[in-house]
Amino acid sequence: MKRFADLHLRVPLNDQPKAESMIRKASELGYNLIGIPLSPHTTREQISQLRQICRDTKIDLATRVNFSPRTPKELLQSLRRFRRKFEIVAVRCHTKDVARQAAKDRRVDLLQFSATSIRKRFFDESEAELASQALSAIEIELAPILQLTSFSRVRLLSRLRKEVTTAERFKVPITLSSGATDELLMRSPHDYAALATLFDWPMSSALRALSETPWATVERNRKKLSPDYVAPGIHVVGRKTGD
């Protein structure tokens, strides 16, 4: 049975009842893992409180941080400071320079582009080539497809069709996530996969982008963040205790 993940569930952290109800809804809809974006300065107590809510609803939590840097330098600074604090690092690329830097940096997990401004979607062939060498995935949020209407939605779908083709050609992983801010924008994994057919992506690939791809990202990062990790391919298998 597939294990589904929604790596971008934007729960309101200052409204605990609503956050709890969104997490419960995600569990009811069939997700096994959710990624909640947190502020870089979130305390350990806040994270453990969220973990407790997720444990109660029998769902796994991946901590996530979204960076929106204005320059590549700012991105590098943020990565240096916060990479080891979160399980998923996503970068919203507002400029081409930032997009290129994010695509080639191995510490970046997800590349995000604007859903409303098509000109700011910098995922072209050069970006795909850089991303394919650095393991970063492109993240497609599905809530904007629900929210946008008429021509904005047409333009977005047309752009996504191109991006998905480019990503598949360069073997860049694609992650589908909800980006939902409200329960009414949340859908089950199969419904989101059906929405992906609107940009000519087969259901089977879309379901993979909601299950295997995000799980692989989270598990790889959890291994890296574990105290037993030394370097790629090297990890501690046991420790000898002193006499």
Partner: protein, 107 residues
């Protein structure tokens, strides 16, 4: 002999604060299919309402099996019914009503 059209039965659950009836729901789904796939797509989908359980806000509709993915996409893209915020979730899909009731015991 004319080959019988293959159909798919979908059980749906509506999340909305307003009162609903079967016609409102069917209109909302049909409008969504029409918006996304036009008159040609809507005619191929051949949507019909089969069953309603109003107290649970659940409905069973059927559509042509070749349009299943498109109908599902249209249902998922519904964000309002009668001008008010709403969401429709697909609880299960099957080729027969009997199998559907086994898959989704709530219906």
């Amino acid at each position: 002999m004319i080959k019988r059209e293959r159909r798919r039965y979908l059980s749906l659950e509506v999340v909305s604060e307003q009162l609903l009836n079967e016609q409102i729901l069917l209109d909302a789904v049909q409008a969504s299919v029409h918006r996304l796939f036009g008159e040609y797509g809507a005619s191929k989908a051949n949507l019909k309402l089969i069953k309603t359980i109003l107290e649970k806000r659940q409905f069973v509709i059927c559509c042509s099996h070749i349009m299943l993915e498109y109908v599902r996409a249209a249902i998922a893209s519904t964000t309002e019914i009668n001008g008010k915020a709403a969401a429709i979730h697909v609880l299960g899909v099957s080729g027969t009503l009997r199998a559907l009731s086994k898959k989704t015991p709530k219906v």
